[in-house]
Symmetry: C2
Subunit: 667 residues, 2 copies
């Protein structure tokens, strides 16, 4: 065993101790008497907050209620979803296209609600794809993914999708540096220092329509950008990024990227970058990346490949970037509601440094630098420091704010949430978490105006918190009431996927805008049938287009003949309902493309390539009425070259249907 | 508008009234003071019951806790699942294969827990695929799908997967009759009466290993089999199936299958069928169907195609099948704990008939038949009837039992649960549901020994029960305490997918057997690396096999070079951890096959076909330690025909790595 591996085992031992140490003998002793009443939302009553929770390795985004912890919806974003049809219908497939082709599954780490004047405005929630770098925008009127943009010159899109105070930009920083796409990437991994680059993308967001464009990318040295937050108020115009692996290691990072006592927070003056951009200092580089846009008038996603991006050199172009030393392997990088304080959480550090925006500005003006790192000025630690929280706990990760001058930091190793005062840096309270908390979230807790009723901890280890389900366990979250001086644990709830960052918004801000149906008269899908009279089956070569309608409790048509082996059959299912919560589903036996779920007023398409002759049932998969079981039909598939004519019908008796065989149109 | 459509609109209007009528002005008024305490499970405490809930159109099966309503796990069964890797790893892909090829998404309607002596034994839970007919068996030691068997000669596998009292058989009846696979299926749909057949499959279940085989299929007239339950105690040896569409309609079933005042319950004497089978009366028919089996020693699914099934003619072979008239379009078909009473719920009926097994036997002995239907004797209604529950509600669907002589029936149209006495058929209590309940479930409620603490209603309409999430809403369940004389609503919880049937088991019965890890020494995967020393990269033509290990917090190897465009790279990831709840994930940028999640001691494989040159990061997607962010690596992809040698390494510094380029093995 070499020295590296010994070090590694030492760390593992530390973590093992961390897990054990925080487990009280009687876990329920932490719960006081009125917790049930505080956490319980009686049947028929609403939760106070929407909680938008990243799904981690599931690639989706989940919506829970607070304080009940009930799961209202998994919003499909970067992964296919057989519960919704996302990635299965012909309309949704384009949304998961990338420059690498169709990607069925990604890893979504952070949610960020759009803001106006630094306050949550309830319009959109953004999410990042960590593996194949992308940013998604979800429309909170429909709770659907409205747009996904890919990021060229990028890998491990972890430092994302954080926003500026008027949602001018969403940012996306590379956790894994790689050769840029427009360079020769076929280089030895050992040439990391020369060839690997970090980039940060500034994605502009359309003020009205939310449309995303990569305004510019900053080209930076090869390090690992981890997390970020924008300045606000006085610090609006700046963005702050934690970065680790300033050692520039390319293997066994566990050891090799944990050598230095301090890594950095990168402060980016994006207003300055905008000036350079205007002055034509950006280089237009040839790259390939996808932008996929959902059109709610056709209920269809459009996939396009873009071929150019503007790159600004963050090192050569002076006064954009500055580094602030930060102990050790910083993870969370959080800005308080006033915009004055920047908290860096070094996951291997024994203290929390709090930086002052005012002091940082003075240091820059005074050129109080300790030197340069890869060409970027490094501000002297003490010159930017407001102060340090001493002995806060082990393994600080993330900090949120209550807007009353207090910060709440999660500690992975000591497994607790610690409340401390931003001004005097004194620890005020600590509450154990079960077990090993990662992110935490206060409603509005990264905005100018938090709603400090609850803090939710998203734990990384579940173990014995719930009835066991074999080797694979749900993750676990915990809700603490923070309306008093002390945190009070009131509820545990299991979570789907693996939550990383989450954000919450007061219910009313979003519920008032929620769309209930899609108006059938506004449906511009090219294959819509706006009533049963428009339902039909049309053959174009080997393509058969079925314009089929669904309404309680039948399809029109429900008998189809004349389909042949080798045909491509497109079932364009229009749900004619105009009532809330009356979706219809659609399935055909043996279909390799899945099924459909179609919301009221919407058209969705299932492609089916029958490979056998016979009779194939179709039916509604979403229970819709007392006669739902009767909502079915049949498709006859004949051999290639068969002369059975194409016919379709609804409600005709069998003798009519028989005579139909002599006609080309049985409707 | 023709008469059919008018009828149809009349039904729709009835349903609309049904939805409205049951909505109280103040929904929370139904909740009394101690509900919070009854429903609340404090942090750190366990739920009393596991609730296994079908996922409907999601194709999966969910595990909730009662009374908290918390979601512990979605068990992937018939659909791919990006949260678990089901259907993405090379090992799990075979589990979703069918005679139609790979099916990514199906529709799971009913869960059934295995029984011994008519009591839930906690070993397995079965589920049915409704669209492409299959039955799955889930192992409750691991909470994983252990086996899936396809059903030939079948469509709309709705009347499934109900079991006999010692799990001798799982049955599967066709909701949609179709021509059998071994006949010419290319026939006009209008020849339904001649050519379309119903079948019921009796799948034997291995007593020790649970292995499923189709023992025989019953060939029956073309009708729609809807639901079923086995006899028990005195009626063990019989199976009961509801069937609708005795009109044998093939179009607009909403109207055409609702013509007759009575349809049927089919009583099957399966012991008699076994005798015929032994006597060689079965016909061996050539068909094709899949059986997929999960092997926990290799962590791999095996897909095989079987080519023969034994068919018994349920009409020609006398004394197997009898029909009992049942009003109107019967849906649920439920047998009480004593095995004496069979409840048929006609969804369009205004009463509930309860049949007596003893009377049915007497009627058969006395040949008290009113005639035949398609060659099957029809017992006189009055001769089999125990009695009718009068004015119970509108739209009865399903009945469960408390073992204390009471039945609980769900009513879709009048949106309520009604409790009534089995002997005297008097209504004892009724509770509103929000809204339009489908199935309901009492722990052990279809077994000989119910645990009558709760009844859970699975509602079909959600509307305003929770904060809105756009046009698409979660389904909603409700928990009622039934420990007293009157039902008490204590909790609402949203559910994932669309629950149809669900079953619950006391926690201890299952939790005591739950597997926590897979032992690495028992891992017989052909590409396992049982320690870092065994990790390696091997080229076989254009196939590159990466034997890669994962342990907190690094992969071995984590730097790989010599991969070329056009290669098929197989990352065989072995998780070396032997601690509960320490999974690792695996992702590589741009992979079109998804990602991996690997439980402790397990090996799973991601196939990756790189289509571009460059440097591709790999990383762990499941947060595993304080140094999880460091658990990453790089793969270099060179052009086709490149001479860069295949090398791999861990922890070497860059100068070592450079020199490595001259070797064929860098480890």
């Amino acid at each position: 065993m070499n020295a590296f591996l010994k070090l590694s085992l030492g760390t593992a031992a530390l973590l093992a101790v961390g897990f054990q140490a925080c487990k009280p003998k009687n876990t329920s002793s932490a719960v006081s008497g009125d917790a049930a009443v505080k956490a319980y939302v009686p049947p028929g009553k609403y939760d106070e907050f929407y909680n938008f929770v990243s799904g981690g390795f599931s690639g989706q985004l989940s919506v829970y209620g607070l304080p009940s912890g009930r799961l209202f919806r998994v919003i499909p974003v970067f992964s296919v979803d057989p519960e919704k049809g996302w990635g299965y219908s012909e309309e949704t497939k384009p949304m998961l296209m990338t420059s690498h082709g169709f990607i069925p599954w990604d890893d979504l780490h952070h949610t960020e609600l759009s803001q106006t004047n630094g306050e949550i405005d309830g319009r959109w929630v953004f999410g990042n794809a960590n593996n194949t770098p992308r940013v998604a925008r979800v429309d909170l009127k429909t709770f659907r993914t409205a747009e996904i943009i890919e990021l060229p010159n990028s890998a491990g899109n972890h430092s994302s999708p954080f926003i500026t105070e008027n949602t001018e930009y969403v940012v996306a920083g590379t956790r894994f540096s790689v050769p840029v796409d427009y360079a020769n990437g076929d280089v030895p991994i050992s040439t990391y220092k020369e060839n690997f680059k970090g980039t940060i993308s500034f994605i502009s967001v359309g003020k009205e329509d939310g449309k995303m464009d990569i305004a510019f990318q900053l080209l930076l040295p090869g390090v690992n950008f981890d997390l970020s937050h924008a300045g606000k108020g006085p610090s609006h115009g700046w963005f702050f990024f934690s970065c680790y692996n300033s050692e520039q290691a390319n293997t066994l990072l566990e050891v090799n990227a944990s050598q230095k006592d301090k890594d950095f927070i990168l402060a980016v003056n994006w207003k300055k970058a905008e000036e350079y951009l205007k002055a034509g200092k950006g280089k237009k580089e040839k790259v390939r990346y996808a932008r996929n846009t959902w059109d709610e008038s056709t209920h269809t996603g459009k996939h396009e490949i873009l071929e150019e991006v503007t790159v600004l050199d963050g090192v050569a172009l002076k006064d954009i970037c500055y580094l602030i030393p930060c102990p050790k392997s910083p993870h969370g990088c959080d800005v308080d509601p006033t915009g004055e304080y920047i908290v860096g959480s070094g996951k291997l550090a024994a203290l929390i440094p709090v930086f002052s925006y005012t002091k940082m500005q003075k240091a820059i003006a005074a050129k109080a630098f300790e030197g340069e790192y890869e060409g970027i000025p490094v501000i002297k630690y003490e010159e930017a420091l407001h102060g340090e929280v001493q002995k806060p706990g082990l393994g600080p990760l993330h900090t949120e704010f209550d807007g009353k001058g207090n910060a709440y930091t999660s500690f992975f190793v000591s497994s607790e949430i610690v409340k401390w005062n931003i001004k005097d840096l004194k620890v005020l309270d600590r509450a154990p978490t079960f077990y090993s908390i990662g992110h935490l979230s206060i409603p509005g807790g990264d905005s100018k105006k938090p709603s400090p009723k609850y803090v939710v901890g998203y734990n990384k280890i579940t173990k014995d918190r719930y009835l066991p389900t074999g080797p694979e366990l749900a993750q676990s979250a915990q809700i603490y009431d923070i309306s008093g001086d002390k945190m009070q644990l009131i509820n545990d709830f299991p979570t789907i996927g693996e939550p990383h960052y989450a954000q919450s918004a007061p219910a009313e801000l979003i519920s008032k805008n929620s769309v209930k149906i899609f108006k059938i008269e506004e449906n511009n899908h090219p294959y819509v049938a706006k009533g049963e009279k428009e339902s039909k089956v049309v053959r174009e070569g080997n393509k058969v287009h079925v314009y089929i309608t669904a309404i309680r409790s039948h399809f029109s048509p429900d008998n189809i003949e004349g389909v042949k082996v080798g045909d491509e059959v497109y079932f364009h299912v229009t749900n004619l309902e105009q009532d809330w919560d009356v979706p219809h589903g659609f399935a055909v036996k043996g279909a390799n493309n899945g099924e459909l779920l179609v919301m009221p007023g919407e058209t969705q398409t299932l492609k089916w390539v029958p490979e056998k002759t016979g009779i194939f049932p179709i039916y509604c998969t979403d229970f819709c009425s007392a006669l739902h079981q009767e909502m079915s039909g049949y498709v006859r598939v004949s051999p290639k070259g068969s002369t059975v004519p194409l016919t379709f019908s609804l409600g005709k008796n069998s003798s009519d249907a028989k005579s139909k065989e002599n006609n080309s149109n049985g409707h």
